[in-house]
Symmetry: C4
Subunit: 230 residues, 4 copies
Amino acid sequence: METLKREVCDANLKLVEYGLVILTWGNVSALSEDGKFVVIKPSGVDYSSMCPEQMVVTDLSGTVVEGELRPSSDLLTHLELYRSFAGVGAVVHTHSPYATARAQAELDLPCYGTTHADSFYGAIPCTRHLTKQEVDQAYEANTGLVIAETFRHRKLDPMAIPGVLVCKHGPFSWGINCKKAVENALILEETARMALITTQFSPQAEPAPQYLLDKHYFRKHGANAYYGQN
Amino acid sequence: METLKREVCDANLKLVEYGLVILTWGNVSALSEDGKFVVIKPSGVDYSSMCPEQMVVTDLSGTVVEGELRPSSDLLTHLELYRSFAGVGAVVHTHSPYATARAQAELDLPCYGTTHADSFYGAIPCTRHLTKQEVDQAYEANTGLVIAETFRHRKLDPMAIPGVLVCKHGPFSWGINCKKAVENALILEETARMALITTQFSPQAEPAPQYLLDKHYFRKHGANAYYGQN
Amino acid sequence: METLKREVCDANLKLVEYGLVILTWGNVSALSEDGKFVVIKPSGVDYSSMCPEQMVVTDLSGTVVEGELRPSSDLLTHLELYRSFAGVGAVVHTHSPYATARAQAELDLPCYGTTHADSFYGAIPCTRHLTKQEVDQAYEANTGLVIAETFRHRKLDPMAIPGVLVCKHGPFSWGINCKKAVENALILEETARMALITTQFSPQAEPAPQYLLDKHYFRKHGANAYYGQN
Amino acid sequence: METLKREVCDANLKLVEYGLVILTWGNVSALSEDGKFVVIKPSGVDYSSMCPEQMVVTDLSGTVVEGELRPSSDLLTHLELYRSFAGVGAVVHTHSPYATARAQAELDLPCYGTTHADSFYGAIPCTRHLTKQEVDQAYEANTGLVIAETFRHRKLDPMAIPGVLVCKHGPFSWGINCKKAVENALILEETARMALITTQFSPQAEPAPQYLLDKHYFRKHGANAYYGQN
């Protein structure tokens, strides 16, 4: 658990290094190897003094089992994602500006080119609004449930599209581990930024053709991947 | 008073670190605990050599009681805000680009999502123009009075909306102390930037629903807050 | 002259620090106190290894009187500005992105607010195109002459509007010394950026009223200035 | 070959320093002086730990002759460019945001001013789409062939326009050596950014006149160049 605490702490600091987070506007969690515990950033703690010992350990119901601080207020969203999406080992939430603005615009993020296709196999969905009742009764858990609903209804594979825009809120991303989940947060932000610039250059810009998306995504993922050293 | 001078000096330097200020384009002041004195940045001094000893202490009428340098030219605006807004312990003025541009556009800043709602309980107002007479006779004091008028006329709570856009000029923000006032300056800039990107993605973007604004604001503020460690 | 060489060298490096210049895309020169010589950056030299000894000294006709390197290719433009604009002690040229883009758009830069008004007393002009003949025969000198013509025809005071956009090329700025000329280059870039954001927020944005421009400009300049410590 | 490995490694790191690359989104290669070998970045390796020893050496058919790691997945594109474009000593590929977005918008990049004209003698072309067959059969080699086709069909000189936008993908640039190829990648990104800002200021912005393009390009290139120290 100490190793995982360090990983989660480092991943939170990486968000700052990547320029995805200011103040205390982000959080990372990770699932223990046995799938029984979650390590998450404490709520509202300054990044400048953050250390592994401050990380909070909870079980999957959200009960704190280790740590002196209160867990991130978004904990229940993270837990719903671990429950709903098999294979997810880490979850990231930020308010990075372009992805957040796209969520505020209530629009999916189309795949305009290979930069997006290398990491997300198709458009990144924007959820529906949460209802007043969903917000009032169990806001954080319902945020996770609405994310899961979005993927289920649209028949999307969360491991092939490892991120989402929560309507009027901002991005969540995930991956098999902290490193991948944080990278996906960065890629989501960068592709949102490039998407805006693309449509500013050409309001009629079209998504990339399916065969190019296939080529780039499967060059890096799956059995026939030939990118990287593995 | 020496502690407060250091706080005010540090807060001014924080504006540079946050990228909110270039050259000498910003100032921070704070109110002493007894409410009788204000500590403020000197006028037109380079941030690179700024030190606590240079901070200027005045009474609430603006008379310098300590310090060798002339106080910030915006002193009288700050003083009006302390007089008008109970609970304000520090005031910040910057020319940060997005907030300033929004002020130049003469438009309120709507709340498009939770990033804004976490810290500002609703749209951030843009003041009316100062009249020629107001500018010619007592420009800085009248700037403060027009800010106060804006909150009074619109029945806004300055502690729930801790910032304003002064028409054709730029942002002022405030808080219970220097740290909060500076954070609000950063959040005002960041939400202005996100608001622009939001409407660039979707010119028809709508403000967040009231129930989401309520949820996020009161998750962090007031008796039922559950964000952070307090 | 050694002092002036150091000043000119430092000013060139400041352009990099301010983010106004990449690669070798800028140059600063200064006039000697007796008005007989100009110290200017050498042409195409890397900023990373730039030192005061490399600065080139010329007379006002452009003849090199000291230095082993070729002077900046824009030397003759600088010389025309010293000849035409009394009181100018230093000249700066950059390709900073927003000011350059405004020059490429062939549009004056209106004064949308106090940030601009604090340093430039009104709209910053964009010159006419140079003709083919002007470009072919004496490009750099004619660039200077067209800048001077712009100020003369529009009856602008170059010390009150210490910068210009050269059509399809980019910004030049100036001041009584290197420090001021470089600051004006930064302010020109920042106001160009803010002007774009302003019109993106509101395509109908209007310039600031004359009385606000008067107030801010004369708060910092002239006999009745009360900004800063002098 | 050890010298060239160091040059290629340094050039890859320069992409990060210039802000043109995040994660592993770029690659640089160089041709050996005898024209028989290519040194290229390994695939998917972190920039933070990159060292000259990791660089991969291949012959012009793409067979690895030195190095333990797999070469960049874009190797075959680089090789096609060395085969097609005489005089090219180094090739760079990035996903820099503005150039990539322009490629996603499927539009050439016009020359709006002297910043562009100083380094690229006219509009930077955007290729046609690769067909499904071209993507499926030999994607990377065909990318190089389509770039070559673009220059051949439009009768463009690749040494005068040392860069291209690959439709829906991103920019490639080149030069006589690594330093020039990397500089051209930076200039391509910066001119793409300035082009967007130019048209945001003025949607009707026109390209620079041919005589200004001639002046600036030939001031820095060819027999009559007078920029720099050579």
